[in-house]
């Protein structure tokens, strides 16, 4: 319970995150993690119980750290929903495109997305669900009341999907984009595009609603 304990536990968590991100859950061995963290092999089972729990905790910590880095925005009452949308999209993208020294957070997330493990459930509950609900609440302010809950969800998924693609598909996007333009693909630039494109769709939907066109 001393600071020593927290030290090894933390070092273990941090190291585990990088190794899991690098090799995946199965290919990562507790032996390598412990060796890299300079702790005894038994430390994993002592502090976390088993490998899976270590993985879950390291994933949770990765997202916690990421969340600390770019805190969720909070607006004064009466802030225009358009501004909120811009802010929240920018926050998401900034978190995703963070500095490379914390890039393993993103790698871990990518692995979780593709092959969800037990860590996924906790991750969704503690971290993704709140963000998702935030986006939906902003969309409610933006869109006509006639929009159903199902549509709202799809739109929110679309926003998240676009942001994710700029992170996960970064390598491919780099191959499909001229270098001088790809260099501009920073969080602010991309966020501005996603937000304004979304708001254009909102305008388009309003237009249709006003004109009574349902398609």
């Amino acid at each position: 319970m001393s600071s020593d304990v927290d030290d090894t536990k933390l070092r273990l968590l941090e190291t585990a995150g990088t190794v899991f991100a690098e090799k995946g859950y199965r290919a990562a061995t507790v032996r390598e993690i412990c060796q890299r963290a300079s702790v005894n092999l038994a430390a994993v089972n002592y502090h976390f119980g088993d490998k899976e729990r270590l993985y879950i905790e390291s994933v949770k910590r990765a997202h916690f750290c990421r969340g600390q880095h770019v805190p969720p925005p909070s607006w004064p009452d009466g802030t225009a929903p358009e501004d909120k949308l811009r802010d929240v999209i920018r926050a998401i993208l900034e978190r995703m495109l963070a500095a490379p020294d914390t890039a393993w957070h993103g790698q871990l997330m990518m692995r979780e997305l593709q092959q969800p493990t037990a860590a996924c459930a906790e991750l969704v509950r503690d971290y993704m669900r709140p963000h998702f609900d935030l986006i939906r609440s902003i969309l409610v302010e933006l869109l006509p009341d006639s929009i159903g809950d199902d549509k709202l969800r799809l739109i929110a998924f679309g926003i998240v999907g676009q942001c994710l693609h700029f992170r996960l598909g970064r390598a491919i996007i780099g191959m499909l984009t001229p270098p001088e333009e790809f260099r501009r693909y920073q969080a602010g630039y991309l966020a501005e595009h996603v937000a304004s494109w979304t708001l254009a769709a909102v305008d388009g939907l309003r237009l249709r609603a006003e004109q009574g066109v349902d398609r």
Copy 2:
């Protein structure tokens, strides 16, 4: 060298592809592959040498098979770009969300994209680039001329990103969606949403252009 040999060898290749796609290289065991393929454990070493060779061969075969059903959609002259957009989005989603027994090609591909290798370049050139250019050409028809090439690319990335998310993020989306609604998340339903949402944004952009608003 009889047809018997080719049979077991082929069944092994096919089964290996699905298992590798499902679990990844490391987590997939030759025992499970052989069991599912109903061949003896030693068959892998006999026919392919070792596990890695089997993996390489199954990936090559997956790419070969995928190349067979990538018929670029072709429309009669004068087809409305809106319809083209719907078709192409639906085609992408259908390929991504195909039945698991034929979708493992794509899963393997996604897995390779995650860890970009030399094969990634070929993959982009043969598979992603054509689709990407097709989407862009449709967007050119849809959008005002004032739209720049850079914007066009971002919009196309957005469409692809949304589709990809419904495939890669499927597990997490399932956790954020009521079951009775998630059950409706089939290719047609999702494609209709992505297309109509994109077209709404197109309308919104046109509206702004007409009104001279640049934001």
